[in-house]
């Protein structure tokens, strides 16, 4: 659909959130939780952390929760009874106040969960999520969205995007039919915008640090470059934090939980950084050392996904680097691949 532009007053934001909630839409948004910023359900604008650049956690949990029930069953003498879990059992939700890299991060998950037999647990939640992103007025040294095809004002994946254009006004871009539908809920708060308004004036300037095609080509050629991966991963302790905060990481595990008669099977986030991830029962491990696991993380995003799913599995949000306890920095690592590897 053709994009529509409107203006919303900052002072009307609380009303907008109230309207969503009173009309029965749960609202997920960044929330301060001690030292970190989580994505949580909110009841009013007050609790929303609009002052931070990026939430610690990505927004992926709106459609891919950390823990999710995929089976439920009871066991008795006669056997097992499954109680069907409906993957589409979720509510239409507003995901509010996230960044463009969060919104566009869903395209990796869409590709992984949508490919082949589709995962309706993810897809139906995603389908029912309306994403209202805020463009970024500032960025930090970890951000490299513009090097991976995104940007601080990128609208891909967003249904609505808000840009702060003055002390008290937000420019509202209505980008999709879903966005249009959500905007009707607070239509009375919207006024017409001047179509000549130049959004770029209000967003951060994020320098391109590497050429993506070249990084993809060089990463693709680097499987056997053991030295490169070792050098990059020497510090890595395999804690998996990078994958847990990443908007595009989709790896998961299943675990059963049961008491004597009832049980559930849960799907949980997992990480290719964990040493047990690929360990066979025999003790054999195809990715035995951390450098091979680091290679997997980078190659999956920058070599395998581009080739198999036609999407680069990184949004340049820099979350993995901010979260890493030993200061691994993906932007530097990718730049190093770009500079050191010759193909």
């Amino acid at each position: 659909m053709e994009k529509e532009l409107k203006i919303l007053k900052y002072s009307d934001l609380p009303k907008m959130i109230e309207k969503f909630i009173s009309q029965g839409y749960p609202v997920l948004a960044p929330v301060h939780k001690g030292k970190i910023v989580e994505i949580e359900y909110v009841q009013s604008l007050d609790s929303i952390a609009l002052d931070v650049l990026l939430s610690t956690q990505s927004a992926k949990k709106a459609a891919f929760p950390k823990v999710e029930k995929v089976l439920e069953y009871t066991m008795n003498k006669a056997g097992v009874v499954q109680h069907p879990v409906d993957p589409a059992d979720s509510k239409e939700t507003i995901l509010f106040g996230v960044r463009p890299c969060d919104a566009s991060g869903f395209k990796s998950l869409d590709a992984i969960f949508g490919e082949g037999p589709s995962d309706q647990f993810y897809l139906s939640k995603k389908e029912k999520t309306t994403i209202i992103s805020f463009s970024c007025p500032v960025a930090d040294e970890y951000c490299f969205c513009t090097s991976v095809g995104g940007g601080p004002g990128n609208t891909a994946g967003s249904d609505l995007q808000f840009t702060s254009v003055s002390k008290d006004e937000l420019l509202v871009e209505i980008l999709t039919e879903k966005g249009k539908k959500a905007s009707r809920i607070f239509a009375d708060l919207l006024t017409e915008a001047n179509s000549a308004i130049d959004k770029t004036k209000f967003i951060a300037d994020v320098k391109v640090v590497f050429d993506l095609d070249s990084v993809v080509a060089k990463t693709t050629a680097s499987f056997g470059n053991a030295e490169l991966w070792l050098e990059q991963s020497l510090r890595c302790i395999g804690c998996g934090a990078c994958a847990f905060v990443c908007p595009t990481c989709a790896c998961f595990d299943f675990q059963d939980e049961q008491d004597t008669k009832k049980g559930v099977r849960l799907r949980l986030w997992d990480s290719c950084g964990f040493s047990l991830f690929t360990l066979h029962t025999s003790g054999h491990n195809p990715r035995e050392v951390q450098s091979q696991r680091w290679r997997q993380r980078i190659m999956h995003k920058f070599a395998y996904m581009p080739e198999q799913l036609k999407v680069v599995g990184c949004e340049g949000c820099g979350r993995c680097s901010r979260a890493c306890p030993v200061d691994m920095n993906i932007k530097e690592h990718l730049t190093a691949i770009r500079e050191q590897v010759t193909v």
């Binding site: 499954q82 992984i112 049961q258 799907r267 690929t278």
Partner: protein
Amino acid sequence: MEQQNIYQPYLMEIEKITEEAPMVKTFRLKFTNEEEGNKFSFRTGQFGEYSVFGEGEVTFCVASPHTRKGYIECTFRQAGRVTAELASLSEGDTIGFRGPYGNIFPIDDWKGKNLLFIAGGIALPPMRSVIWSCLDLRDQFKDISILYGARTVEDLVYKNELAEWKERPDVHLVTTVDPGGETPDWSGEVGFVPTILDKMIPVSENTIAIVCGPPVMIKFTFPVLEKYGFKDEQVYTTLENRMKCGLGKCGRCNVGKVFVCKDGPVFTRTQLKELPDEY
């Protein structure tokens, strides 16, 4: 509208348990819901996720041939947590099965050819499925030879079926056990699979070789096949990597860009050579 849950297994009743060897059992599984069973079909080479409710899932190939309907079989070695739980179950108990997943042995392309099956240890299950699938369509193929080796006589699985194949005039069966693994009345060969293969002087002309077994066996078997003129595209094998989803989503079974669960588990040696060292 209710959407399909791709992680929901079929319920299966354990109809029959056969003790194959120490720690190795075969389960014959029947669909609890007959209608689901009638609709179900698979092709030889495919695998599934078998679940013990409350414990979790494990990956086994379907060990029965696709030419036989109404049930599936799996043969498994008790290895860790879930397989231990599975081994403790009895006939009549219920387990889950998701599948079939993965690619197939392209037996339709093998029509009119000689088939040479080479299996070691517990790797006979995937082989047994393809062997019976071919034997059930016996007139489509020329000579069928089977070389099967285990550590000891006791470790040979499918002892009844081995006896049956031995009797059949249209199957050439060679069994072997590792040196020291023989019993006084053992009438088969003694020696490692690659050595015995060499003694068999296999004919590569118009032959497909299917090799399944532990990595060392495979490593030493390939050069013998090469010596007798087998080209890479005439040689098939299967890969195992740890799996969870079986559907190319959970992200752990890949060898480079190839997902063993959906692009495999069956590979030709040509394909294998293109894969990076990650299995």
